[in-house]
């Protein structure tokens, strides 16, 4: 067996063991994951075949639109793959624990490069591939493509995955050599900003919304040229798009040329990457072993501020809060998530600001308040996503250092509730900013403003309770970073329960809000039965919120109390 394949053996064997010995206990976990994956696949396939069928029905432009959409999807995939490969290669090439083992053995650097490249590519690509496949299958299905379409797709896909992997590894090698000391994680932070900004520009430049609205173009010629304009003839996404085009549409394009182009580029990138690797790797790896200092969070000003903010807490709770705060802000992977979160919030609010309410056939007053009601659920979902990323992993992030808490005179109840309160306050602030600003943009009635702010305020308790409680119920102390915690079974289960909880709260409030709203609109008084119904509905909401806090927190506490550590 070739040496670089031997280097991959531990990963392959570990995967085989995982597949052979699924998680102990019930079939619930694989079943839920399989259901989620199949539902997602089915939904994506259905949605795309609907869109493509619609496009096929559009005379003149239909096929052009479908081809343009394919180009956009491939360009998006290429960007995601490139970014994901940079992040992965930082881990696989520089931070992985097993590197010490390989680099101290008589293994040539070439072999290490090929093995790590293959690992990086697999890590980064499988998810994109899995979620992208139904899209390409939908194209084949709608256009009734021959098996050549699938063959060309499979043939072009491999180099399409290799190119961003080789580029990502190359980029991370250069970065690690430029940045001093153990700054590799800081680089992740910079990359996240870079990625967010790039994605924004990409979307803005593509302007997908204009393509379905030919009126926004000055003339037919301009519209057609916008449709047929390539994203960039130098990008692999364009080559794969052009290579596949003749096999699902009646279109003449030099498919072989593009296939050759993409394969030769992939080969060249791997060879060039290997050359750079041999030159730069060892120096970069040595640099990545050095330590970094905490500057900002050691300043007396920050310490004073923290002391002031935590004054109402008892000394043990304060210690936990300060420790969590410092650990959070010194972990650059967390900052990058915060930056992305801020981008998400800005986009969220921007969408409300630019909503063309006046163009809707419905009365603006009605639509504003309807949207405001739905906005409660949307804001809840945003909070739930944020909580999935920051609150659910809170217990697991104690990691293998949890022995310090377990062997100290702090009750696990206090520990868990300190996690609850420290998560709750920032999330309430975020939720209220979201709901109040978006409602202001919508110009809703004071009643809707008060109702949605109050609902979201109490709903945040449930979302956080579920997050902390389920994080303690499904802790993963041995993972290396927070994103792995959130993406596990417990994280997925939390997201489902959290979404269900938000859906249930909004459903319970729908009827009373509608009744109150219509009564106000028509200036009529409510009957006793209606008041009783409203009271019952809001009581249901209160009970649901209380249950969402108490039940998971209790179960989580029981679990970590009984857990052998």
């Amino acid at each position: 067996m070739d040496a670089w394949l031997i280097l991959l053996q531990p990963k392959i064997i570990a995967l085989r063991h995982r597949l052979r010995q699924p998680a102990r206990g019930s079939f619930l976990k694989p079943l839920i994951l399989a259901c989620l994956a199949v539902s997602f696949w089915a939904f994506t396939f259905w949605a795309f075949q609907r869109v493509l069928l619609y496009f096929r029905g559009v005379e003149l432009f239909g096929d052009l639109l479908a081809a343009k959409l394919m180009g956009m999807i491939l360009l998006t995939f290429f960007s995601i793959l490139l970014f994901s490969n940079i992040i992965s290669s930082l881990s696989t090439f520089f931070l992985a624990e097993d590197l010490t083992l390989f680099l101290s053995r008589p293994v040539s650097l070439d072999r290490v490069y090929y093995a790590r490249l293959a690992e990086t590519m697999t890590h980064s690509s499988w998810m994109v591939l899995l979620f992208g496949l139904p899209v390409f299958l939908a194209y084949g299905w709608v256009y009734q493509a021959s098996c050549n379409y699938y063959l060309v797709f499979a043939c072009a896909l491999i180099p399409f995955l290799i190119i961003p992997a080789a580029l990502g590894a190359l980029f991370s090698m250069i970065l690690v050599n430029i940045f001093p000391a153990r700054r590799t994680k800081d680089i992740l932070f910079l990359l996240s900003i870079f990625f967010a900004v790039s994605l924004y520009f990409l979307l803005r430049f593509l302007q997908p919304e204009r393509l379905v609205n030919p009126d926004s173009f000055a003339g037919l010629v301009e519209y057609l040229s916008a449709l047929s304009a390539p994203s960039s003839a130098f990008l692999p996404s364009f080559w794969i798009s052009e290579a596949m085009l003749p096999y699902y549409q009646d279109h003449q394009a030099p498919s072989g040329f593009f296939l050759g182009l993409i394969w030769s580029t992939a080969g060249a990138m791997v060879v060039f990457g290997n050359w750079v690797f041999r030159t730069l790797y060892f120096a970069g790896w040595t640099k990545s072993q050095e330590a970094r200092r905490a500057r900002l969070t050691q300043s007396p000003l920050i310490d004073g501020l923290l002391r002031l903010l935590t004054r109402p807490l008892n000394v043990r709770a304060r210690a936990l809060v300060v420790k969590d705060f410092k650990s959070f802000f010194r972990d650059t992977t967390q900052w990058s998530q915060l930056i992305l979160l801020s981008a998400l919030v800005v986009v969220y609010l921007y969408n409300f600001r630019v909503l063309p309410l006046d163009k809707s056939p419905m009365p603006t007053f009605f639509l504003q308040n309807l949207l405001s009601f739905l906005n409660m659920a949307l804001a809840g979902f945003v909070l739930s996503a944020v909580s999935g990323r920051f609150v659910f992993p809170a217990v697991s992030l104690e990691g293998l250092s949890f022995w310090i808490i377990r062997s100290s005179p702090v009750s696990l109840r206090s520990f868990l509730w300190s996690k609850f309160w420290t998560s709750l306050i920032p999330l309430i602030i975020l939720g209220e900013v979201l709901i109040i600003l978006s409602n202001t943009f919508l110009k809703v009635t004071p009643f809707m403003m008060v109702l949605s702010s109050a609902t979201l305020f109490f709903m945040t308790f449930g979302i956080v309770g579920l997050g902390v409680g389920m994080g303690a119920l499904y802790p993963r102390f041995k993972v290396e970073n927070a994103s792995q915690i959130a993406s596990g079974f417990g994280g997925a289960f939390y997201m489902i329960l959290s979404m269900t909880f938000i859906g249930a709260v909004v459903t319970l409030e729908a009827w009373p809000v509608y009744t109150l709203f219509m009564a106000e609109l028509h200036h009529r008084t409510l009957s006793l039965w209606e008041w009783a119904g409203i009271f019952l509905s809001f009581s249901g909401v209160a009970i649901l919120n209380a249950l969402a806090v108490v039940l998971p927190m209790r179960l989580g506490l029981k679990n970590i109390s009984e857990m052998d550590f």
């Binding site: 153990r182 050095e290 330590a291 970094r292 200092r293 905490a294 050691q298 000394v315 043990r316 304060r318 210690a319 300060v322 420790k323 410092k326 650990s327 010194r330 972990d331 990691g399 293998l400 250092s401 022995w403 310090i404 808490i405 377990r406 062997s407 100290s408 005179p409 702090v410 009750s411 009984e562 052998d564 550590f565």
Partner: protein, 247 residues
Amino acid sequence: MNKKFGNFHAVRDLTLRVFPGEVFGFLGPNGAGKTTTIRIMVGLMKPTSGRVLLSGKDIAQQPVEAKSILGYISDRPYLYEKLTGQEFLEFVADLHSLDSGEGRRKRVTELLEFFDLQSWSKELVESYSHGMRQRLIIAAAILHRPQILVVDEPMVGLDPKGARLVKRLFFELARAGVAIFMSTHNLEIAEEMCHRIGIINEGQLIALGTMQELREKAQSADDRLEPLFLKLTGEAGIREFMQGFRF
């Protein structure tokens, strides 16, 4: 006390008592049940049956009270990587509700100096070597002046200077009345430091007593602990095995 993992009996009918001012050595081969016993003693695991009393306080029933008089030195150097050494000690002081006055600050500084960590006190723990982490863990364990010190492999990662420092520290603590329960593989250290020794094998306590009592039990005239230990744990055949093994 008993501890079972499924069908595997990790600790079987263990009964032990350690007295104030005593250094108790807990020895045994790999996988004998030493770390499991210690993890139960400090509240990281629950026993299947039985109980652990620390100065009369049940670790399972009164965990906060029991842990407030306990210091634990783990063999695994996992710490909060994103705190500095000084911040970590301040954090532990808060967990033990130590007054945040001048006395506490002085205590933290003294310990950092004693363990030769002063110049590293503002650095993140993630940059510490294994030995430095171990010294920080020991400093944190004695920060609140515990009555009981439970130690799992105290010398792991320590250089000769650090090891000597720790030995001296343990003597002084024992002299001050602290009960020290220490698990170790290093038989010379056990011989040199421990007043009494317990030997555990396959989860069972097979010998308990002073060096003299162990010698009598093993019917050995040898002064050293190593031959006694090998004889008691049934590993005396190792010499013959090594002779027959070709490297």
